[in-house]
């Protein structure tokens, strides 16, 4: 990966393999899982899986770093740690799925049940809410990073999940992904990825069996820095916002709006931060940024950089490859852009930030919302009144005030507009993985 070489080969699943997985999942739902497995059992298994992940934390982080390119430190301290926190959080929900009893008429009993959906398809996301609520999963991992999911599958087996509850298929989007999205016996699909592919998933879902769809898609999240921000902090958070994980984050604060009064000083310090990022081997201690995840991604990012240059934007920093081996791209800052440029409108998914000067609140809110995306937004200001007013006006599913890219297992996350449908994390996520059934029991109403 670091040098572009092959780690190993995995099988490529086909539509027929998806059929097998769905059949296995359905069998589990009908016999050992679904309504046959009480919440306490689901809680126990998820807790066991979490404990196994803790035991194998180093190993999982190494596989992630190897396969994905992110630094081992980040994989270990952030990604895998967070995944463990999320499993434990949902393990706690598993035996707390409550419906309601509703007052209608003294001669009746009326109540709701929140039942598992059944077989759900997960294209990419590692989602624990479906397991917590009793669903069986057919999961397709990323074709760029298939290894962690396979290791997780083995751990899930060891934790004691019955056969068919979790099925993991490695494969490509246009075969396995498409088969899942269009499958007549999958009742819900969750997809994490680009808006382009998300649209295809939703179309396939509609055309097949109208399966429910949740989508976590792209973003071009605005990061708004006002004159009265704590400058040093705003600079640090902004660097984190775009350069974390080599810019490969759907929430990347990739459009950085800086108010005129502090623009020059901000740009100066922000550039210093970007320059200080150390690129190198993800396993080496001290490396801040590893390679991009694949050749395809590398090419796309470089293409965006070229388009920015061609359109007349200024390359304030970077804009080129790092070294001669591996998919490394130097932290890049563009200035002097116009709103219609591709680097301003489209999701780059790399360490490329655009810094834009603005005059006042009205101006920046308009510019910030001028996007088809709506995943996240950040606002920096020491005047909390101003920060909150702005945050409330930004059309995004998450608004960060004086911070950026902070996720918690118990706080919902998801997009407005073409950034997605539905919410992950928190209690809200459970709603996407249960069906509500209302039961009316008559005992004394004579007809």
């Amino acid at each position: 990966m670091t040098d572009g070489s092959l780690i190993t080969k995995v099988s490529e699943a086909t539509a027929k393999d998806v059929d097998l997985a769905v059949a296995a999942a359905q069998k589990a739902v009908d016999t050992t899982w679904g309504l046959n497995a009480p919440g306490t059992l689901r809680a126990e298994l998820l807790n066991k899986l979490a404990n196994l992940m803790v035991q194998h934390k180093g190993e999982l982080s190494a596989i992630e770093a190897l396969d994905n390119g992110k630094t081992f430190g980040w994989a270990h301290d952030t990604d895998v740690t967070f995944a463990i926190d999320v499993i434990k959080y949902y393990a706690g929900w598993a035996d707390k799925i409550t419906g309601q009893t509703l007052e209608t008429d003294e001669r009746k009993l009326t109540y709701t049940r929140h039942e598992p959906i059944g077989v759900v398809g997960q294209i990419l996301p590692w989602n624990f809410p479906p397991l917590a609520t009793g669903n069986a999963i057919v999961l397709k991992s990323s074709e760029f990073t298939p290894l962690t999911s396979l290791r997780m599958a083995a751990l899930a087996h060891e934790a004691g999940f019955p056969p068919g509850v979790l099925n993991v298929l490695t494969g490509y989007g246009n075969t396995v992904g498409a088969a899942i999205a269009a499958h007549p016996h999958i009742e819900k699909v969750a997809f994490t990825g680009s808006t382009l592919v998300g649209r295809k998933v939703m179309e396939a879902a509609a055309r097949s069996n109208l399966k429910e769809v949740t989508l976590e898609l792209g973003g071009k999240s605005p990061n708004v820095v006002f004159d009265d921000a704590d400058l040093e902090q705003a600079v640090n958070w902004s660097a984190h916002g775009i350069f974390w994980n080599h810019g490969q984050a759907c929430t990347a604060g990739s459009r950085i709006f800086v108010q005129a009064g502090i623009y020059d000083e901000f740009l100066k310090r922000f550039t210093e931060r970007a320059r200080a990022i150390k690129l190198g081997d993800p396993f080496a201690a001290g490396t801040d940024q590893g390679p991009q995840v694949s050749q395809i991604q590398y090419d796309r990012i470089m293409d965006y950089i070229a388009s920015g240059k061609k359109a007349g934007a200024t390359v304030h920093l970077g804009g080129d490859r790092f070294g001669t081996e591996g998919y490394f791209i130097n932290p890049t800052i563009f200035t002097d852009t116009t709103p219609d440029m591709r680097i301003v409108q489209e999701e780059i998914f790399g360490p490329v930030g655009v810094v834009i000067k603005f005059e006042d609140e009205e101006d920046v809110i308009k510019q910030a919302n001028d996007t088809m995306y709506g995943l996240a937004a950040a606002v920096f200001s020491k005047d909390l009144n101003r920060a909150l007013k702005t945050a409330h006006k930004l059309r995004a599913g998450t608004a960060w005030v004086n911070c950026i890219n902070q996720l918690h297992a118990n706080v919902p996350f998801g997009g407005y507009k073409q950034s997605g449908i539905g919410r992950e994390l928190g209690e809200y996520a459970l709603h996407h993985y249960t069906h509500v059934k209302a039961v009316h029991v008559n005992f004394d109403h004579k007809m």
């Binding site: 434990k88 706690g92 929900w93 909390l384 005992f443």
Partner: protein, 388 residues
């Protein structure tokens, strides 16, 4: 006067740690080391000023196992001060729900690890069969801890719309502070059974044969299905009720005679021909004494059942679903069991109506008893002119 006493603690008292005790259990050829003392600030300490002792007695043999100190009001003050100090510094809002969750899980794991030993101590001191202590009392406690560990990071307040342009209002569900918990055993005993006259005779025959089949003996004996009552005080109280039952004219069709030999054993006792005003029908006995009455109509059964100042649990058995719904609706108790009895689940609230209690344990409802709601009204946009 509640203030942080820790710096003062060590200098004004003769501070001696209370010593652990080695408890011998010959029945299973085992020795268990048990700490003694008052557990304050993660230490087992001697009482400030109390010389009174509580003797832990084995109700199967009437022997004293060991003695522990009976705390005094001054000890309570110390404990409360320690709790308040912790709440202000290392607990309360200083700790996240995630951290609380981890700790509670850890505690559950440790209790599970030591379940066998804990159940043997329970059997020794309480009388109940050790396997019941292990699989039910301790087993259920472990599950309950894990259930609430799962809630610790899910204490959710609300955001409330007041004026979208200028205001933010929300609630926080804050911890209360120091709570005093006096642990006793709640009683849901189905101590009154009312049987419809059409099945009365058959029911009595079956009931007597089932109850006779249970072996009452030493809790550490694998064969025992039940043990002695917990103490001499209880033993005397229960026999008092049995004598009262006989004197007031109820008929003991099972039990009613004392066992010879050591141990606070009470044979399961069944009274019939009861009347509502009898002591055994009105008062909580807290022993293996059942009063069986009869009724003809549903309304009569409901009236008999509700004729009490208590209201903790109630049960009904019927194959008629409509009847189940009507009767469960009419019974005045915090928990109604339909076609079962005495089953508790961690996620289902439990508590009494009428004089059986206030508040609910278990389930999400229990959280309401331990949080205090604070509403925050935050103005970020309204400018106020004065005078209005």
């Amino acid at each position: 006067m509640l203030r942080s006493v820790l710096p003062i603690f060590k200098s004004v008292r003769n501070y001696t740690m209370a010593q652990p005790v080695i408890v011998n259990i010959p029945a299973i050829n085992k020795q268990i080391t048990v700490p003694t003392g008052l557990f304050i600030n993660n230490e087992f300490v001697a009482s400030v000023d109390s010389k009174d002792l509580i003797h832990a007695v084995n109700p199967a043999t009437e022997d004293v196992i060991c003695s522990v100190v009976a705390a005094s009001p001054k000890d309570i003050d110390l404990a409360v001060a320690a709790a308040r100090n912790a709440f202000r510094t290392t607990w309360g809002k200083n700790v996240t729900g995630f951290e609380r969750s981890k700790l509670i899980h850890k505690l559950a794991d440790l209790i599970e690890r030591d379940a066998q030993e804990l159940s043997e101590l329970e059997a020794l001191n309480n009388g109940k069969p050790s396997r019941i202590a292990r699989d039910f009392d301790i087993g259920d406690s472990v599950q309950c801890l894990r259930y609430y560990a799962g809630w610790a990071d899910k204490i959710i307040g609300q955001t409330l719309e007041v004026d979208n342009k200028t205001k933010l209002a929300f609630t926080r569900h804050d911890p209360i502070g120091v709570c005093v918990y006096r642990g006793t055993i709640p009683s849901t005993c189905g101590s009154r059974v009312y049987v419809q006259d059409t099945v009365y005779d058959k029911f009595i025959i079956l009931l007597v044969s089932k109850v006779k089949a249970q072996v009452i003996g030493d809790g550490l004996d694998e064969k025992s299905g039940g043990g002695p009552v917990v103490s001499k005080g209880q033993y005397d109280k229960v026999w008092g009720y049995i004598e009262a039952g006989k004197q007031e004219g109820a008929k003991a069709i099972l039990g009613g005679a004392k066992r010879s030999g050591k141990g606070f054993f009470v044979e399961p006792t069944i009274f019939t021909e009861i009347r509502p005003e009898m002591k055994i029908v009105k008062e909580e006995i807290f022993g293996p004494v059942l009063s069986v009455g009869r009724f003809s109509t549903e309304d009569e059964a409901i009236a008999l059942a509700n004729d009490t100042s208590y209201g903790l649990g109630a049960g009904l058995h019927s194959n008629d679903a409509n009847q189940c719904m009507r009767v469960s609706s009419a019974l005045e108790a915090g928990t109604i069991w339909v076609n079962q009895y005495n089953i508790l689940n961690n996620n289902v609230p439990f508590g009494g109506k009428k004089q059986s209690g206030i508040g609910r344990e278990l389930g999400s409802y229990a959280l309401d008893e331990y949080t205090s709601i604070k509403a925050v009204h935050w103005n970020f946009g309204e400018k106020l002119d004065w005078p209005l």
